[in-house]
Symmetry: C2
Subunit: 738 residues, 2 copies
């Protein structure tokens, strides 16, 4: 067959290489478009394994002439299966299995325990831990081979995915010398999934957990969930909403949890549960949930024991307590530490952990919302058990398009802090706006807390290195509020998959480049054609700033529609809490706008290290992206551009919309390089995004004008409708409402 | 290529037949299992179009050597596209398009208006109406051809699907002479979908209508929905729950409804909406919804006009009024006819209809629930506008596993009655129990009302022929409460798709054989291998009786868990209405069980024609399947089997469980003939069904024993747990709750 030959043909010394022939027929058939075209509906995420172009494939085949990979454990079997699936898709046929290297180009995968070949290589696997791996070009018995080696099956699984990624992204396979060790121990997803399958802040359909049919029916989709997560190193999943339902701790549900844990275990993923603090009362029949009450402590201990009987490697609990109406230790005059430690003691004998969320704000205290978590938690520094992590959102308000890093990072040197990012786009356009969050995650991770001088990045806080003197070998971790649902494409839109992907890659390596991650993702998910890759990556990296511009420019925040958080609502006022309104956060008047968090205002800046506080607190030094986060500023304030603040705001909103228009034009131009199915959907969503970006701009400007009485600068189109029109819009069934 | 040759080769007179070559490569590739195996996840329903085995395919190719099918209208384009898709999948390649017949074996599809060839044949298309079609083997210009002809594009579309079905079920294509005309005009689905995407009594995931992204994003799935429905002749869909939300009539939602209507129109499907009777108050700002109030009439007229501006072929309204808390004309002292006629007048100028549900029961009247619809509607016979249909459930209670036909059938000779079946298995095991409902639908349709002597079948009532003397050319129709949701397999389980399929086939021809329909479906959806077909069809046709046996034998009814309707609950008692309990319906005591609907009881039998009433009302003549529906019977009553009633009940429950065990064994044996993916899922669901059938049996028997104080007959295993255990089970998140 034409095109199948070259170096590989020479290797087929042992008679007719029928695998090569089959591979050839398969590739020919694919080229002819035989049968049903492989649907590009997004289901396969970044693990599409489409045939590699012939010349390249031939070259790669030389590095996968045979596969040495055991299947003695479930993880080994999963690893081997993934390699076979991937190589079959990419190269037309899976390499034959072998027990020993007998050809040049063998691929050897495993651990010293699983592979005599690897054991014999005596590789330098120290420091890889359980999850790290090497990928190296070696010589075995005089033959070239690629080895993917680890200390543990889990590391080999991660290494196998990495190897496949090299092919998916068309990297060279000769002279490999890669070494990867995850920087954080716990790399988890948080599903805000309710037991009725509603996903809070979910825009990708209902919960994928079909509780009614579990445990007897385990949807094969759960395996694909596990594969996708393993491919990006995610090793834990919290199954249920932080606004928790105690029923998940009852026997009926523990059977179902166990079934899920059994599916995930071979992929290195442990299951965790959100624990409702009042469970001892709600399902335990106790009259109290006081963490210092011996009956309560005994109840949780017994409950933990019961959970571990079902799931021996259960990860532990995630807890939202005394926040937004959730029960907690403060209901009994106890502290967060009291509550966390009680649960920690219950799971410690089993190796479990507690992730205790710092997203709290008092019922009563009218202090600046941005200050409250710090005020509650810093006094508790060092008071938590070693198996407790305090889980802190990236910023002090709530997952806005831009927030300065949370002041708790660097301020609790004796407590392991876990980063909480939001992958689902609650405040960033739901599923229809193309917003790549890699830059947002990266910005936070690289932010310098200056807690111990320059270079005290948030990444170094959460990886334990910054406070190594006060915390010995602490737990480390990152949590991501998942954007996963029952939609065919998992995440609500094709590009939203990239946020799940980037989150996993950054949890593995918090210093990775979000742009490089975007490129990997684009290559794996769409195409390696350079005419596609560069523009697509460009769209992605520009998208975060676009949404900041059209929703919440210059440090503005929390201006969305009430309840559902869909669309603009800078006028939102009234209701049970001031800090649930928009007016609380923008404080716009006839003379200016912005929240004074400097010393003349709430002094939230003082919660940062002095060098940072000095910068943020000084209107002349604060980075412009944070101007209105930290300062109340007159509309006439002169910006670095030379424009007044008012003019700059109008400029930014307008620029944001223009950026979306550019994204649309760019995407239109990419039609020749991508399947029609996905091109059409992305194009339709970009059209929605442009409409909604325009809406955000117009509604916001109409409102600011109603306060400042100012005209738009010349050259800017006024909002086409009056303010009351925008204020009248209602969306009673916008998805994901809490 | 081996296997590709024979008669077809001779026809390739005009040079190399590259299409045949491609087809051959494709079939070879499929045989080799190239690339990703086509997932058998159920998404394609019965329109899978998998390659036909080589010898057969070759024979078929002789009947599809070229395709004459216009594409001048959207329906023509949809028709052509479906034929190309189907033939490509089945035969390896779509036949080339042609304008004239130039080869033996041409396939000619269309109408006299769309096809000069068809016009020239001067076929006997009278009586086909708009939706009927012919499929006939003819000779055109001396060449053999198959013609699929109709008067209208819609008929040609239906004919095209029928033609494809012939191949899918391996029927011969020579000497075809088929003529099909639908017996009912309106063949609709009723989606009980809410605007928040919850599907009431839905077990297949959330609603497929993604309202939030409509109208700008029209999920390609909507096209596949339309194709599936068109393939079984369904020509209308009511988008929203009969427990209606007035918001669907507001401009924001009408834009979304229009978008859906635009997708469905080419497939011959019209959109309808459930109308909330109190909409004039809720969204119209009026102080009343009195159907006789001129302002209310004007509001509905204007609303109808508005709807028709969006959707010019809008079908009309479905209304649930004065039932289960829904608002209605009786709130104003008006009749159902007043209410229906007001709406009918609003839509009549546009050709619209009103389907007014007869599922009503009074707040106050303590009369037998089974009598209430008749009591309310018979006095209104003849009082409805011609464009009103009264929509009547198949039985007088609520979609139980078995109900005698509704007494309204045959009792309203001056009013068009529309049948309402339930396709979703609210009372039949949700998505996990394999229950083929074809026999249930068929039993009702073939039931003899004897309203005008023998042969006054329910089918003849609803097709208008029985009352042709009192109703001239009436509306006719059937409604099916859909089992469709966002699940990948649409219906919650693979075999549940068969119920959607059978419903459509029976709506087209109410006298069709449910067993023949099952065979078609099995062949199209799974396999034509006779080793598979016969056992699978056997399983299906036996399944309905099995569920009757293990849930509600011998005429028992309404014994399920409260609210969610999941699992057994014969003890359900108390609450706001007696007729929402189980005890109301079984009336079991120490001495007997069953609801006396004979003359000595509620006399519901008197609502039937005298011959039927005499049969049902006489304990010696009533068919045993209806015994406890119509009679209160002592436990010692001697059954036809010779057993006592108690013994017979125990026998039936146990037999039902045994039947499921047989189904499991049968399915296990079918593994070699079906893909592993679906085999595994069906097997897992059958295991769940066996567990739940056992549960129904055990819980029910434990309860009956607690009342009758009797032991089980010898040889029957007692319930393994005490009654209180079964009574204690709670399922707060069972799906589909209302």
């Amino acid at each position: 067959m034409k095109g199948i030959g070259g170096p590989g043909a020479a290797r087929a010394r042992k008679g007719f290489d029928w695998r090569r022939a089959v591979a050839g027929i398969c590739l020919l058939a694919a080229a002819l478009g035989c049968g049903a075209a492989q649907a590009e509906d997004g289901y396969e995420l970044w693990l599409r394994y489409r045939p590699i172009e012939a010349a390249r494939a031939d070259g790669y085949r030389a590095f996968a002439t045979q596969l040495l990979a055991g299947a003695a454990t479930p993880t080994q079997a999963a690893t081997r299966e993934e390699l076979q699936r991937g190589l079959r898709g990419l190269l037309g046929a899976a390499p034959p299995l072998a027990e020993r290297v007998t050809r040049d180009g063998a691929l050897v995968v495993g651990t010293p325990a699983s592979s005599p070949t690897i054991a014999g290589l005596r590789l330098d696997t120290e420091g890889l831990g359980r999850e790290g791996y090497l990928i190296r070009s070696v010589v075995v018995d005089g033959r070239k081979a690629t080895v993917v080696a680890a200390n543990d099956d889990a590391g080999a699984l991660y290494g196998a995915f990495h190897f496949l990624r090299l092919l998916q992204t068309r990297q060279p396979l000769d002279r490999l010398d890669l070494r990867e060790v995850p920087r954080l121990k716990l790399r988890v997803l948080n599903h805000w999934d309710n037991l009725d399958r509603h996903v809070e802040r979910g825009y990708a359909g209902e919960s994928i957990w079909d509780w009614h049919k579990l445990p007897d029916w385990r949807d094969p989709r759960y395996v694909d969930y596990a594969r996708a997560n393993a491919s990006i190193g995610i090793n834990g999943t919290v199954l249920n909403n932080v606004n928790s339902n105690a029923l998940i701790l009852t026997p009926m549900y523990l059977e179902k949890v166990k079934a899920l844990a059994d599916v995930f275990r071979p992929y290195g993923i442990r299951v965790y549960l959100s624990a409702r603090f009042s469970a001892p009362r709600e399902i335990g029949g106790l009259g109290t949930a006081d963490p210092l009450d011996p009956r309560v402590r005994a109840w949780w201990k017994a409950k933990a024991d019961e959970i571990y009987r079902h799931v021996p490697d259960f990860g532990g609990f995630l807890v939202k307590a005394n926040s937004e109406g959730q029960p907690g230790p403060q209901d009994y005059g106890r502290s967060h530490a009291d509550g966390a430690n009680m649960l920690a003691d219950a799971v410690a004998p089993h190796g479990g952990v507690v992730m205790w969320r710092a997203f709290v704000y008092s019922h009563e205290t009218p202090d600046d919302r941005a200050k409250q978590a710090y005020a509650e938690f810093v006094p508790l520094d060092g008071r938590f058990r070693p198996n407790v992590m305090v889980q802190v959102k990236n910023g002090a308000i709530d997952f806005q398009p831009r927030e300065p890093f949370h002041p708790l990072f660097g301020a609790m040197p004796k407590t392991p802090l876990m980063m909480e990012f939001q992958i689902t786009k609650e405040y960033l356009g739901f599923a229809t706006h193309l917003v790549y969050l890699g830059p947002l995650f990266e910005e936070t991770l690289r932010a310098d807390t200056k807690a111990k001088g320059e270079g005290s990045t948030v990444a170094r806080v959460i990886d334990g290195s910054l406070h190594a003197d006060t915390l010995q070998d602490p737990l480390t971790g990152m949590a991501g509020v998942a954007n996963i649902g029952a939609d065919r494409n998992w995440s609500g839109s094709h590009f939203d998959q990239a946020n799940w992907y980037a989150y996993g890659r950054l949890a593995w390596n918090p210093d990775a480049s979000s742009k490089a991650i975007a490129e990997d993702w684009v290559r794996m998910t769409f195409s390696n054609d350079p005419r596609f890759v560069a523009p697509a990556v460009g769209m992605m990296v520009a998208s975060r700033e676009a949404v900041v511009d059209y929703m919440t420019p210059l440090g503005l925040h929390h201006l969305m529609g009430r309840g559902h958080h869909y669309g603009p609502g800078p006028w939102v006022d009234g209701g049970p809490r001031a800090d649930w309104t928009s007016v609380y956060y923008h404080r716009a008047t006839r003379e200016g706008i912005g929240f004074d968090r400097s010393a003349s205002g709430s002094n939230a800046v003082a919660q940062y290290a002095p060098a940072v506080a000095a910068e943020f607190g000084d209107i002349a030094r604060v980075p412009e992206p944070f101007l209105l986060w930290f300062h109340h500023v007159p509309w006439d304030h002169r910006m670095r551009s030379g424009r007044t603040l008012w003019h700059e705001l109008v400029h930014r909103y307008t620029r944001g919309v223009d950026e979306v228009k550019k994204m649309r034009a760019a995407w239109d131009g990419l039609a020749p390089y991508v399947d029609a199915e996905r091109h059409r959907q992305v194009a339709a969503f970009l059209a929605i995004q442009e409409k909604e970006a325009q809406w955000w701009r117009d509604a916001s400007l109409a409102y600011w004008q109603s306060l400042n009485g100012r005209a738009l600068p010349p050259g800017y189109a006024p909002p086409p409708k009056p303010l009351r029109y925008y204020q009248s819009l209602e969306f009673p069934y916008a998805p994901g409402n809490g």
